[in-house]
């Protein structure tokens, strides 16, 4: 098989071989990847041995208990497939990220979080069992009460501890497949953060978008969304129809996203929400996965692609942390199309899990010549605030910054060393950040 371009979602790429076997039990001991929705280089193979196994053909459900919701499935099963099958029957995943194009293996390896993080934690917190193949070829099971150390390093471990073959976790019963949503226009970042915290005890799901271009008094004005599953007396009796998806037609030219067009988008988004608060029933598709409507929207960023910068600013950083972050960003003129802000609940026991109590900020940044400098500056700021970044989104962080942000890292590397002393499972990201041989 000839080499081809293997891309992360932000379009950083390596030339290599992407195997896509039917059977995950017969694969070489190399990195696994799912649907490649991590933005940076986490799912890309190292350049010197550029072979990666795509798991998406291993997509069988292996057991589903219709009374408890306990599901066991092959690691390449996507949330899209899962929701299509089980949402109509009243079951939902315990945690979903902002896209359905994610595999179970990817959800575990990045320990993904969703709008319910402040209540339910990350995906990994719900996992009962993983079936894995480790570096010496053994296939074994692990979980919170079995090979716990391996389990805690694998959840959030970005594929570096071994190959996840199967995942077992309980699906959650929902009253209807519809969402009751209340959304609110908020006039600046401080008010936004306050409202987010206020909403946390009352709403199981919260998230919001802010405008991070407008400086000064209105900096960080935005829309805060709060939701819960609708009760049967408020919801339509029909099943919400899956929206037709349109494909982003072209690889956009670089000028498409410029400060002016981004500003116009942010302006429109804010003022579309004319009344201060709105509420009502919405479909789970628009509530959870609004970006899934447009297939291949990453092409909007053109050939050079983009990166997502996501960090968490811990509660210990004190009030105003979000504003200080935006100050740094706007001073640099870092224009972002999307800026998503959400509060995080307690930290997981998983060794490299991203969220911790505080405020998570995520920005999409088109790659330009100064992107490295921008990320460096943001990282230095986040480091000062005691925060950290999310590996599943990262392309530009320097190892010294990451090491300084992650006091948990030595522990993770120690466990990894024990299970994979030769670093068979390594990625372009682990070469960049953990000093693995390319």
């Amino acid at each position: 098989m000839t080499d081809s371009r293997i891309e992360g979602w932000g379009r950083t790429a390596v030339q290599g071989k992407e195997l896509q076997p039917d059977n995950l039990e017969q694969t070489p001991p190399v990195l696994f990847r799912g649907l490649g929705r991590s933005y940076g280089d986490s799912s890309l193979p190292p350049s010197a041995n550029p072979v990666v196994v795509n798991t998406t053909r291993a997509n069988r459900m292996l057991a589903f208990d219709g009374s408890t919701g306990l599901l066991r499935a092959e690691a390449g099963l996507s949330l899209l497939d899962l929701n299509r099958t089980l949402l109509p029957r009243g079951w939902f995943v315990p945690v979903t990220p902002g896209t359905q194009f994610v595999t179970l293996g990817g959800a575990v390896a990045a320990d993904v979080h969703g709008k319910n993080h402040h209540v339910d934690g990350c995906f990994g917190a719900h996992v009962r069992r993983l079936k894995m193949r480790v570096a010496d070829g053994r296939v074994l099971e692990c979980g919170p009460d079995l090979e716990r150390e391996l389990f805690l390093a694998t959840v959030g471990g970005m594929g570096l501890t071994g190959q996840i073959l199967e995942v077992e976790f309980p699906m959650v019963r929902i009253p209807t497949p519809w969402i009751w949503q209340e959304s609110e226009r908020v006039s600046d970042i401080d008010e936004y953060v306050e409202k987010l915290k206020e909403a946390a005890p009352k709403w199981p799901m919260t998230v919001g978008w802010i405008d991070c271009l407008t400086p000064g008094k209105h900096m960080g004005r935005g829309i805060l969304m709060k939701g819960r599953w609708a009760h049967s007396h408020e919801a339509p009796s029909r099943f919400p129809s899956e929206p037709p998806n349109v494909a982003f037609p072209i690889e956009a030219p670089e000028w498409l996203l410029n400060p002016l067009s981004i500003r116009a988008f942010n302006f429109a988004f804010y003022w579309k929400h004319l009344p201060r608060t709105m509420s009502g029933i919405v479909s789970p598709f628009s509530f959870f996965w609004p970006l899934d409507f447009v297939k291949g929207w990453n092409r909007m960023y053109g050939r050079r692609g983009f990166t997502q910068y996501q960090c968490v600013l811990p509660n210990e950083a004190g009030p105003g942390a979000a504003r200080r972050f935006l100050d740094v960003l706007t001073r640099r003129g870092g224009a972002s199309f999307l800026c998503v802000i959400k509060d995080c609940g307690p930290e997981s026991a998983a060794l490299l899990s991203f969220p911790r109590p505080g405020i998570s900020v995520a920005l999409d940044i088109a790659i330009r010549n100064d992107t490295q400098a921008l990320v460096d500056e943001l990282n230095e700021h986040v480091l000062k605030e005691g925060g950290r970044i999310y590996l599943a989104k990262d392309t530009f962080t320097r190892p010294e910054h990451f090491h300084a942000m992650e006091p948990r890292l030595p522990r993770f590397l120690e466990v990894r060393e024990k299970w994979d002393p030769q670093h068979r499972f390594r990625s372009a990201q682990s070469v960049r950040l953990f000093g693995d041989a390319p």
């Binding site: 098989m1 195997l19 896509q20 039917d22 053909r57 069988r60 459900m61 292996l62 057991a63």
Partner: protein, 247 residues
């Protein structure tokens, strides 16, 4: 509601099609080799199927013709009847591999033609004995015209297509409906590593097209449907042009 036996349901287009059957409440027998693979596919169909759908696993190996009759019998018995039989199982190798390795060539030719026909013969007898039913087999666009990248594989599929057409002419009035599926290039394990041509399809799209064809009793179906037009053009090409182009 149908009672369907699928040989080849463990992977690829057969897996996708078996899911469609189970999801709408049809009973499905997974015919295949390798206990574990069959078991896992049965579990998948059970989990995805409408609650109450019956799914069973039955051993059957396309390389072993003596397994055909007992497999169909077991399927009939365990599903309390049988009205539809689907064969997606098949083998593929590139023309280069087949030219290099006569043993492999013998296997592919036997599995894709002789044994598939023998399996269909058992299915024909079983269905006719029950008063009729639908027999759906996966041939290929590769059987529509002799082409240089698929000389032998295409020949086996051409034979299979001809057999299926004959069957349709002979037995439709007795209640045996034959559906010959001609997939174009579809992204499955079978084509993994091959260069993807234009108009490549996904197994899920093929499954939908084939499900409709089985329900309607369409004798020949191209999947994805655009391949009908592609093949019309290829069939119309004069030989001297065909000889020159590389497909």
């Amino acid at each position: 509601m149908k009672r369907v036996a699928v040989l080849g349901a463990t992977r690829g287009m057969g897996r996708a099609l078996a899911r469609r059957f189970a999801e709408r409440g049809d009973f499905v027998a997974v015919l295949g080799r390798g206990d574990d693979e069959v078991k896992r596919s049965v579990a998948d169909l059970e989990a995805r199927g409408v609650p109450g759908t019956r799914v069973v696993g039955v051993p059957c190996d396309l390389e072993q013709p003596e397994s055909f009759k007992p497999a169909l019998e077991a399927a009939e018995q365990r599903l309390d009847g049988l009205d539809t039989v689907v064969v997606t199982a098949g083998a593929f190798a590139t023309q280069e591999q087949l030219e290099r390795d006569p043993a492999l060539a013998a296997k592919v030719l036997t599995v894709d033609f002789a044994n598939t026909v023998l399996f269909c013969e058992e299915a024909r007898k079983k269905l006719l004995m029950r008063g009729g039913g639908t027999l759906c087999a996966f041939s290929s666009v590769a059987g529509d015209r002799g082409r240089s990248p698929v000389v032998m594989y295409g020949a086996a599929k051409a034979g299979l297509s001809a057999y299926l057409e004959g069957l349709d002419h002979k037995y439709r009035r007795e209640g045996l409906v034959t559906v010959c599926v001609k997939p174009g290039f579809v992204r499955t394990g079978m084509t993994d590593g091959l260069k993807t041509p234009p108009f490549a399809g996904e197994p899920e799209d093929v499954a939908q097209v084939v499900l409709e064809a089985i329900d309607a009793g369409t004798p020949v179906v191209y999947a994805p449907p655009v391949w009908r037009a592609v093949m019309t053009a290829i069939k119309a090409m004069p030989r001297f042009v065909m000889r020159r182009v590389k497909f």
